[in-house]
Symmetry: C2
Subunit: 439 residues, 2 copies
């Protein structure tokens, strides 16, 4: 039942193979679908033909200019045709029939907007110059990684069609390795002193335990989590909603510089891209997807952090929420997640690690109350101790209340007094001030 | 397959019917198992024979002196033989064969201690004087209720063998009615200002909504909850671990007086009983059993409130926990309950009512974030608004970023400016300071 696949026509260079899409081929008549040669017609002869890998990198950089981050229609097109062919189809203004004819779930939804989106992409492509973008990135000290490359974090594949086309990275750490043991810490920009304190402590504790903190680099919780992580020796990852050359918020210039030294600053936006509200929202899916789980420290009911939390749930990542005073609006979103049963209650750095840690490996210690001296008493002595009324009583009364014999009571009372639990007063035996807990 | 039950011998008064326990009958040879006549042999002739109901009340009052509250062995004995017969067996020092021969689960556990316990009860019975106890209660303004009476809260039957033998009540409210819509609020004595604020608010909100607050009358959370409840018009119930004539803690004299006016102060301890640690712990089961659910406001990991919470779970009552700062030890117990999935997260009085309210009746409103003006924008206008970079841009850039035509962008920009969302600056269109939320 094996399908016989026809081998590719021998001797024809990959970039010149005819596509399966007859319409598209007849549309421009050349069958040339390479991207490099298309970039600037004048440069065609001047530059050597690009390797297939470079072709794909350039195509992805061009497509990053054509579509907004997280454009699922673009993602599906690239998944169906590959980036090089997708770019060629957009340039021609005509999608391959395999794309138009695709009947997978959700495609119809896109289909209605197909023509408009195609026109939008084409319009933006006019201003795109991937060679310049790559050069600009290099000049800025940024590197581009694309799916399949060694530094690509494969967990981003869980995003399916909204997987980034590529990522720009600045910094010393290896993104993929850093993400293997990582937790996202997100929360309000308008955080309280409590929230930033907690975020910084968790960041530091995770970093000390060789966990990477992923966050959005914003003021408030994000910044505190990064700063805490920098106090340890593990990398931390800032995921921006603008180009990596663009410092937003501007007050975090020094923070981002420190992150580049110890971790990475990454973005799916081309250099020079400004942040917009919608870019923040799509950026949040990356924060959720890169790590094993997301922890919300402080968040209003409608907030970016809750948006990230919902992405984490949709991606089947772990979700934790840190409780806070119910009188604080900044904790309302966390309490709502707890109440809905969507998030695990996380009240210490150890529990945060437990949230994302390997089963049986990074378990938080079972939380226990303090062991008090009375735990070590014999059950008889404890019964006698527990039976002593607050206002004091004689041995006979205590023996009856404890339901032991008078002899037993007397012997226990002597031992308890010697150990300092009780003392003899004019009202009879009484529990010492620090030996009694009424509840 | 119906078993043929032999009818009781006609003409023999109930209190003189032979028991099925031949040993016991032969032990004292009289077959007299009434309790009243046994109280004080000297009084036997002086007082008229008591009615069967009074017999039972007196027997229960005597047994309350014989056993500590919550004594499950006593509970099983009373369940098997009835209080009058149980008292007679204890006085005789010999349990009926149906008791000794009972093979129900857990009985063996008791069986081993049976002789010792029986001796303990007998010893304590020597000092018991139920007639005096009833008179003392009456003098104090307390009333005694026993199972089956109109004011008896039937939900206490869920306690099975540790059901109280009877309850002493002081106060104006009807205990059974008050418990129908009730929530227990418990927590630390060493509460924080945050905890007492929350407990008092919840108490008041519940009372306003015609819910009864049940608690233990202690300092801290308990007291705050009662005080809050007194601010409304609903009753509140103090469940003491000592006699109702005994004010513990002594600083709550005025509080308890106010509770007697508007609710009830109750106890399963005879008048004059002092509080002991073990009595506090068994008292907690009553707090859990009386109400529809228990809410823990602040509690250390090892605390009476957690003990009450565990009783509530064992009784299949609802359990809620109020979160607090994770930096506060006083909230550790609450967070532990949340983390274990034992308690529902409760962050408002409304949610507390939702916890115990009837399904579909007392539901808390779905918590939502504020509706912001941008919610009412058309999807196109929202896209244009969301595409405006923080640093401003011209209409063409915005149109491309929003993926709409220039005409659409211009029309949306005009409307957004008229509505105050955006303004034109030298850097192009920018979002107004209060019209922008980056996340």
């Amino acid at each position: 039942m094996t399908a016989h696949l026809s081998p590719p026509p021998d001797g024809v260079p990959a970039s010149h193979r005819p596509t399966r899409d007859g319409d598209a081929t007849s549309a421009d008549g050349t069958g040339d679908i390479g991207v490099g040669p298309h970039l600037k017609d004048g440069e065609r002869a001047a530059r050597p033909p690009l390797a297939a890998g470079e072709d794909e990198r350039l195509a992805r950089v061009a497509l990053m200019r054509a579509a907004e981050p997280g454009d699922a229609l673009m993602g599906r097109l690239v998944a169906l045709s590959g980036p090089v062919e997708a770019l060629a189809q957009i340039r021609r203004g005509l999608l391959a029939s395999e794309v138009r004819g695709d009947r997978r779930e959700g495609w119809e939804r896109f289909g209605r907007h197909l023509e408009g989106r195609l026109a939008g992409w084409r319009a933006r492509l006019h201003a795109a110059d991937p060679v310049r973008d790559l050069a600009a990135g290099e000049r800025l000290g940024a590197r581009l990684i694309v799916p399949g490359e060694i530094e690509w974090p494969t967990q981003l594949d869980d995003l399916h069609e909204s997987r980034p086309l590529a990522l720009w990275i600045e910094g010393s750490a290896n993104l993929r390795f850093s993400c293997l043991r990582s937790l996202s810490i997100v929360g309000a920009r308008a955080a309280t002193a409590y929230g930033t304190h907690v975020a910084a402590s968790f960041g530091a504790e995770l970093s000390d335990a060789e966990w990477t903190v992923v966050s959005g680099g914003a003021y408030g919780i994000d910044g505190a989590a990064h700063r805490g992580a920098l106090a340890g020796r593990s990398p931390t990852i800032v995921v921006l909603a603008c180009g990596t050359d663009f410092c937003y918020p501007s007050g975090h210039q020094d923070l981002f510089a420190a992150v580049r030294d110890q971790g990475v600053v990454i973005s799916e936006c081309p250099p020079g891209t400004h942040p917009t509200r919608s870019r923040f929202l799509v950026r949040n899916r990356l924060i959720a997807a890169l790590s094993r789980g997301t922890l919300v420290v402080e968040a209003a009911l409608r907030s970016g952090a809750i948006n990230t939390a919902n992405h984490a749930l949709a991606l089947h990542r772990h979700l934790g929420a840190v409780p806070g005073p119910i009188t604080s609006e900044a904790s309302q979103g966390c309490h709502h997640l707890l109440r809905q049963g969507k998030a695990q209650c996380v009240s210490s750095g150890e529990e945060a690690i437990d949230l994302v840690g390997a089963i049986g490996d990074d378990l938080a210690r079972e939380v226990r109350g303090p062991v008090v001296p009375r735990d070590s008493l014999s059950s008889e002595a404890r019964r006698v101790l527990d039976a002593i009324p607050t206002r004091g009583a004689g041995p006979a009364t205590i023996a009856v209340a404890a339901q032991v014999t008078l002899d037993t009571a007397l012997s226990c009372l002597g031992n308890l007094a010697a150990a300092g639990y009780i003392r003899r007063t004019r009202q009879g035996w009484r529990v010492s001030p620090d030996g009694y807990s009424s509840t």
